[in-house]
């Protein structure tokens, strides 16, 4: 493939330049369009998560960057170099595979040393760097073990050490925690995040778990049917979802559909003002915890009020989820756990918490 004539990413030398730039990438398998013109940038040291349901194309995008698949069209650039023209073994990215893909015939130490061995690194340097890598993932005592004798969490650490030993600028992680049980998963999430901060390299993390994405990421790229739905920080995506899909996929929400006229919206029995944007039909996302049963200090003025009948009360420890009926419109409300509620109640929310959705 020729690189001549292609335009290099602008400001490649500037510190704000992206580490990886995905330009208009499309991928088809036969007639199936798996990725539709994706453009995305990753900054140096950033933790970016590709979030989506199975079949959304997130793993395919990761494999395109690693070099296991070729894009149908589009380009991938990394630090001023065309990446998609290179074979996988020439790319300065490394991957942590979904089921770790540790070499079963090699010991833990040999697995970790693999990337250095194939590059004919001097022996004493290999030994030192392998020790460092094992120490980094707290697995120094397991150097001679075979991967099959390790637990899932330990294999996970070895896979990390093995991928990081080549000192990549970008680490690709393909659902690395999906094979672990819930408790270990939480622990590994926090270790992963700490590790990423310490070594300061960019992580591109693939997951279908929105909680995991929220907990770990600097930014989330939400994929749906091969197209980007929204790319934003977890806070931004949660408080201002761009689409109804984004609003419903990340966290729980209430979608209020109605009409905007003159800076005020009417959604059934609920009124919201002030609202920005043009007049016409509109959808708002209102998170269950943004609705309150009492007027507290966080509400501010003006606040919106509505009356609703309690239909169900689901206890969840610190909070409970109410399903309420506001003149035929069903809403979910998350309130601090308290006594049993029945009948009609007054609820309030701040208008700024009702995020107007683009579509």
């Amino acid at each position: 493939m020729s690189v001549a004539g292609a335009i290099a990413p602008q400001n490649a030398a500037a510190s704000s330049a992206p580490l990886l730039e995905i330009r208009d990438i499309a991928k088809r398998f036969g007639h199936a369009e798996v990725l539709k013109n994706i453009s995305l940038q990753i900054a140096p040291g950033e933790f970016l998560t590709l979030l989506g349901e199975s079949g959304s194309g997130k793993t395919t995008l990761l494999r395109l960057i690693a070099g296991f698949e070729q894009p149908t069209s589009g380009q991938i650039w990394m630090a001023g170099e065309r990446l998609d023209a290179l074979p996988p073994y020439r790319r300065r990215v490394n991957t942590v595979f979904q089921n770790y893909a540790l070499f079963p015939h090699l010991s833990v130490r040999e697995n970790v040393a693999y990337g250095l061995r194939v590059k004919s690194t001097p022996k004493n340097e290999i030994a030192a760097r392998v020790e460092d890598a094992l120490a980094m993932v707290k697995m120094r005592d397991f150097g001679e073990a075979r991967p099959a004798t390790l637990s899932g969490g330990q294999q996970q650490r070895i896979a990390l050490a093995r991928a990081l030993i080549n000192r990549p600028e970008l680490l690709l992680l393909d659902e690395p925690l999906s094979a672990l049980d819930a408790n270990l998963r939480k622990q590994m999430q926090s270790e992963l995040k700490t590790l990423q901060r310490e070594i300061g390299i960019a992580f591109l993390f693939v997951t279908h778990d929105q909680d995991e994405a929220m907990a770990l990421s600097d930014r989330i790229a939400l994929l749906r049917n091969g197209a980007l739905e929204q790319v934003a920080s977890p806070r931004e995506i949660y408080s201002h979802p761009a689409t109804t899909y984004a609003a419903q996929f990340i966290g729980q929400t209430n979608l209020l559909r109605g009409e905007v006229r003159g800076g005020s919206a009417t959604c059934g029995a609920i009124r919201i003002y002030p609202v920005s944007g043009p007049d016409g039909p509109a959808t708002f996302s209102l998170r269950p915890e943004a609705i309150k049963g009492i007027i507290d200090a966080t509400i501010g003025t003006p606040y919106m009020e509505f009356k609703a009948t309690i239909r169900q009360q689901i206890y969840a420890g610190a909070t409970e989820l109410l399903e309420v009926d506001c003149a035929g419109q069903l809403l979910r409300v998350r309130v601090p756990a308290g006594e049993r509620l029945e009948g009609e109640h007054e609820f309030v929310f701040a208008p700024r918490d009702a995020a107007r959705i683009r579509d």
Partner: protein, 281 residues
Amino acid sequence: MYSRTYKTLVAVPPLLWVGVFLLLPYALMFSHSFWLVRDGFLVHQWNLQNYRALFTNPLYLQVFLRTTRIAASVTLCSLLLGYPLAYYLSFHAGPRKELLYQLVIIPLWVSYLVRGYAWKTILGSDGVLNGFLQYLHITHAPVSFFLYSPFAVILMLTHIYTPFVFLPIYAALEHIPRPLVEASQDLGANRRATFLRVILPLSIPGLLAGATFAFVLSLGDFLAPLLVGGPSATMIANIVQSLFGAAYDWPLGAAISVCILLITISLLFATEQLEKRWSFK
């Protein structure tokens, strides 16, 4: 839980089979090897004469060495053909995989004897190969050493046993998780390094199984030397056959058989140990 009666009923047929068709014949063979033939009659007199003859008569050692050499050549040739074929099918054949697999398997459905006679037709003085070479003016007279030589035996046995070598190697390659190959490339290993460091080591159990098939089956073959081998390619099984037939020396034949059996069993045992060492789960 299964009842005791059920367990007994299930166990009897295979035990009976093994007893009547395996253990009993082996016991008979073993006993015969310690008897002798006097004036054309089998005498049930225990002695070690047969084994002594085996180790003192250089003819037997010579034939045995030739047999080993031929079997080793067949093993090497089948591996050289079977491994690349299996590798190509498993990793690079794409949608043609199923078809090619069937094509490799089909010869197994054709009688061994038919394939033997086919080689006779191909390699003979007025055979297909000589005709072709003369047609191309590469040779001007029929080349006689194609047929009735160790070469012909190796050729025929390689043809017959390559699918046997191919199958276990192919199975082993198919069982290598593809993410391992990707992980190797991801870590900076090119195709060659990935093959040498990941694919080859993980396919060693299949390779050993295939090599064992080819070697053990060739070691005991008597039809190929009979059909295309001639006197210069007589193998140990031909000696056994003649001792049990025209020569009427069952005890000596049995002694040779016992030796071959022992060699085969130790070989199978050794490769099994090696396969275990190289298999990872």
